[in-house]
Symmetry: D2
Subunit: 375 residues, 4 copies
């Protein structure tokens, strides 16, 4: 068996979105459904137990399910068939990827929290470290490195909060969303399944109202974008001529050993591009009737990739901040006389940018309070 593609995604995350992980998640749902039907007294307890017993990934051959999944145009189909063969008779019908998503989202949240902590540390340490602010990549006025880190902190904290608020409702709609096969018990079974999977309930089936998927992707995109912004600023500050920051153990160059490449910052940017491409693929308007003929099938890979690359971006950004060396002296030295005279333009003779920067510090404090309130 071969691995596919995203070299820059940490191994754990590749595994979290692997075929094996999907299989686990699908079996979790089947087990939850069996239990829910049993609690609702629609299925005898011993049948539910028998089904749950067969929801063991070790009983199934992933490669073979993949091949059959392509034939059926649907990865659930062959699994349900295989499960039936194992059990004999079942009510297991529909599946979603809420479970896997939730797991990966939770893991991503943890990594994001550590980026935020890295930003907060820099914001505190460099609350009053003067540096040039740059607009259109030209020196503008003085700022502090703490203010820059506070800007990263706010973006990461906001993105994390958006991710945390993303609703991942359970999907149980039956063939056409109406749970017709369950008759009057439909809504009750759905509640039990949702409770068992610790997911929220949708108002109506979201088979062709892909809001949960689109919003999850948008939330991932905002995390990735916050990581990419850190990466971009670090890459620019680490330029040979600027030299205000460096990654401590930069990527070695095979041909140019003198270089200290800001590798983690670069990876954060690269991974973020991957997330954005997938988020753009997802839009809610092209889902025909009660089940889309293509757009739905395209989601599985898109959301896998988005999850994996968000994890990749977050891991890279966190590592980047962890090893970031900040050269305060160089920051000060790079501030041109223009910047100091700019200071005087506002009617102050004292060219000391530290004094001048009093205006930045309260914003740093406000950002830190926002972050601390959000943890």
């Amino acid at each position: 068996m071969t691995t596919f593609g995203p070299l820059f995604v940490p191994t754990e995350l590749r595994e979290a979105v692997s075929d094996a992980a999907w299989l686990d998640a699908m079996l979790d749902v089947e087990r939850a459904l069996a239990n829910a039907l049993s609690l609702a007294e629609l299925v005898p307890a011993h049948v539910a137990a028998a089904i749950a017993d067969k929801c063991d990934p070790a009983l199934y051959d992933i490669e073979s399910l993949c091949v059959q999944g392509r034939a059926a145009g649907n990865p659930v189909e062959p699994l349900v068939r295989a499960l039936r063969e194992q059990v004999g008779g079942d009510e297991a019908r529909y599946v979603h990827y809420g479970a896997t998503s939730q797991d990966v989202v939770d893991s991503a949240m943890m990594i994001v929290a550590r980026i935020a902590e890295g930003c907060a540390r820099l914001a505190r340490e460099h609350r009053s470290s003067p540096m040039a602010a740059r607009t259109l990549l030209q020196h503008a006025v003085p700022t502090t490195f703490g203010y820059k880190a506070a800007g990263w902190l706010v973006a990461v904290t906001q993105a994390r909060s958006t991710l945390g608020e993303t609703e991942l409702p359970a999907q149980l709609g039956g063939a056409a969303g109406t749970l017709a096969a369950l008759g009057k018990n439909g809504r009750r079974v759905r509640s039990l399944v949702a409770a068992e999977l610790e997911l929220s309930e949708a108002i109506v089936a979201w088979h062709t109202n892909r809001r949960p998927v689109v919003r999850l992707a948008a939330a991932l995109d905002s995390v990735a974008a916050a990581c990419a912004k850190i990466g971009l600023d670090v890459v620019l500050l680490a330029q040979t001529e600027v030299g205000e920051v460096a990654e401590a153990r930069g990527g070695a160059s095979s041909t140019m050993p003198h270089k200290r490449n800001p590798v983690r910052a670069v990876l954060a940017r690269a991974c973020a591009r991957g997330v954005h491409a997938q988020a753009s693929l997802l839009t809610g308007g092209e889902y025909e009737h009660e089940r889309a003929a293509g757009a739905w099938h395209a989601e599985w890979n898109a959301i896998s990739q988005a999850l994996a690359f968000t994890g990749g971006a977050a891991a890279a950004a966190r590592e980047c901040l962890d090893v970031l060396e900040v050269d305060k002296a160089r920051m000060r030295a790079n501030m041109t006389s223009d910047l100091l005279s700019e200071r005087r333009a506002f009617g102050d003779d004292d060219p000391d940018p530290i004094t001048y920067l009093g205006s930045a510090e309260p914003f740093v404090d406000e950002a830190l309070r926002y972050y601390e309130g959000s943890v």
Copy 2:
């Protein structure tokens, strides 16, 4: 002077995102800033009054400001210069498009509310009108047209609520976000400006944390997607062979007078594609340091187009629902014997799909309650 491009956008909306509207919005901000500085006693009241006096769009030549804006790479620059010439001396420095956005967002909200009402009406009327549910465009099981309309209703209501919750904070950061030029008064002036413009306040300047823009675009995209989904389902139901719905006064065909084209549904889909392209352009990771060298400048047109086309999609979807003719008899007749036997497969001898559809109705009711609670 020539109009540009989006033929399918209603005239009012073209005007709402026109150069003239931007000029109005920019002058509104300059006026609010002058008033705020006066309230904060940083500018004498008579100076603020003089500035406010010159914030009259009639005093400026838009075409000339556009030409100068291209030269400066920034539309605010020439306006501020022109305003200064008119007033002599000013503190007016920064601008945002919150005001215009808010206006257009408000207008869009009104149109979206009317789409929701259209969906709700259909959901109520056809709560129990049986039709075939279709997955992969094949008949699946019976459903009701009310259930389909309830699905549209939920999507529109959710999208409207997302749009309504979109935070549009005032932007006042000065040259590099620290409001340095205002010294210790910075945060107070910012609060006054935000209050005057009835916008919220950001934690730190969002010059290069484009969350408000990205989220506004995502909210617009979700409205447009909800409209496109309605358009897609209507286009499919209106097919010659299906004939379950029709737009009452369909677009005439110049060459084929027998056709009844579902024009509004088609336009809703077309406009939604335009929104999605612009939403995809916007991502938060490519904004250098304290002001981006390109990505920021690309936003103005992107958000204008997204606003205009969302309005176009919403207007088309609303009109489509307003004139929709529903052929209940055809819906019933199209239900194949397969669907009826499907019914029997669940152990029920009564092939009447209406009875069978008892499972759909509670979901319709739930969707209507959700909608009514959100108004």
Copy 3:
């Protein structure tokens, strides 16, 4: 009437893609069709003359056609109706935007040719001007500024050649592509129309095989990308700390007069983003049967915007190169001792980068030969 959106697009180009320009182009096609039908002896010469006579834009009210176009979901419909009213009876049926596109493509080609000439000039002048090559924004090894300009030159020349080779076939397919209404004369009339409009002929109608549109957009995107690459390199070289190039008459900053913003480079980047968003919208797989229910309608604005913004990017890049000041001394001074020792690493004691750079010069010459051969 109000202008819409793309502030950064030169006025000429806004006009070239305006509603008025579309009207002109549509009337051109109607006239060509009338003449073709007359040549094919399917329409009496005096009727064709009468139609041609009415193909005068001054006879029509654009705003009113726009409003009717929205109602019909099709801008051609009301025009054909209005033309019929003017003439009485006609065969004019289908339209395309080949003509307008060709005009704008031709104009864009001229601008692009001037960017290429700017690059070639810099490549010649700085064939041997040493500077640091930068990978991941770190100094790598020495190169010459001429080599960098040669890279731009190759990209622009290739993009121009792609644009020049873009096939813009005439579209005349009738209601469903078969030209049924013209009976056996269909293909002959199509040939005559294509000849009259100086466009190529498609094999079959391309109503739902959007290759010409997709490829035109891709060609525009490649021009825009070549402009954006120049913009990006200029923005980076113009950074305060790097200072190797500057735009001679940079955009004034209203608040920071010491800044010399690389405005044209920034605009080239901004416009390129707009082109890319539209190119991404266009893809050939979502066009139902013989005429798409939405995807087709979305093209008009997309291709207008792509054309306009490509023009904007090209104009900005050309101006940027025209006013570019190159600081050879600073380029040399920025080369660090690392770069010189890198030189020695290859077994050469002479640390003079000029000698070393012998390897870059032949590539510059090759690029210039390629460019000169393409003119």
Copy 4:
């Protein structure tokens, strides 16, 4: 080791873009480079032989190279280091993915050729089989199914020809594109490497002029779009109410055995979405100086996914055509009386659509000639 994501991509193609395939391709390039240096007498033949000897994938641990690749931000780095350890001293420096791309492109070409043959067969068989042409999904005028298949044929043939013409130049530029380390021998070595790999030569290094990658992606996107168009038309014609075509051995539904889902058509559409998302990610304007800090790194996964999903789309479209059952009687029966009266509107009393369709047949023939000329 786990597989990643694209369930719907055939196993062969997953393998063709796997980490293992990249390793093979990178080692191929190292071997070609060693041989070229030997031919150019820059490296003794026995050294080249020793290097070639170590270019055996079995000597390397992919997972370990992946982990190191993430650390270095570059998958080549650890491989070169590992190769050096195996050989001791080497000249192998740069790499590209031309080889892998070429292999996958060649495989894709073969599959595409078979789609074209499937279309041609249908065009020939149904050259005169009448059916309704549909615009905006409404019956328009009569056409033939052969004409529809001819449209698919032209699109597939054009896309295949674009793919076949995609230039995949060898990349050998050294640290900054100038091949400085090879001194005066640079261009000669580059020619030898290109010849050995059977690739063309670039004018200058394309490290930051990503035209080959962008155009390859666009060519893949056009293949995918042609497949998606076939998929869309098949899905629409296979609708329960239309029933004009069916996939012979359609995907079984676990819950609704009466359904005959057009699974392959659906998969072609789904895969095409994946290709388009990756093609949109790639644009040539964001590559800094001589090596981009992120955009380059994002390409590897993007092009892998685009290649894999194009293969998936092509395989699905080919299979779809291979098993397509065409119901000529239903096509005829679906033609409404409107369509026949439409016929009369053109002054012909004979309502037989077959006679009428004489206008479609010559286009079918022309498309077949075009296809046959291109093989």
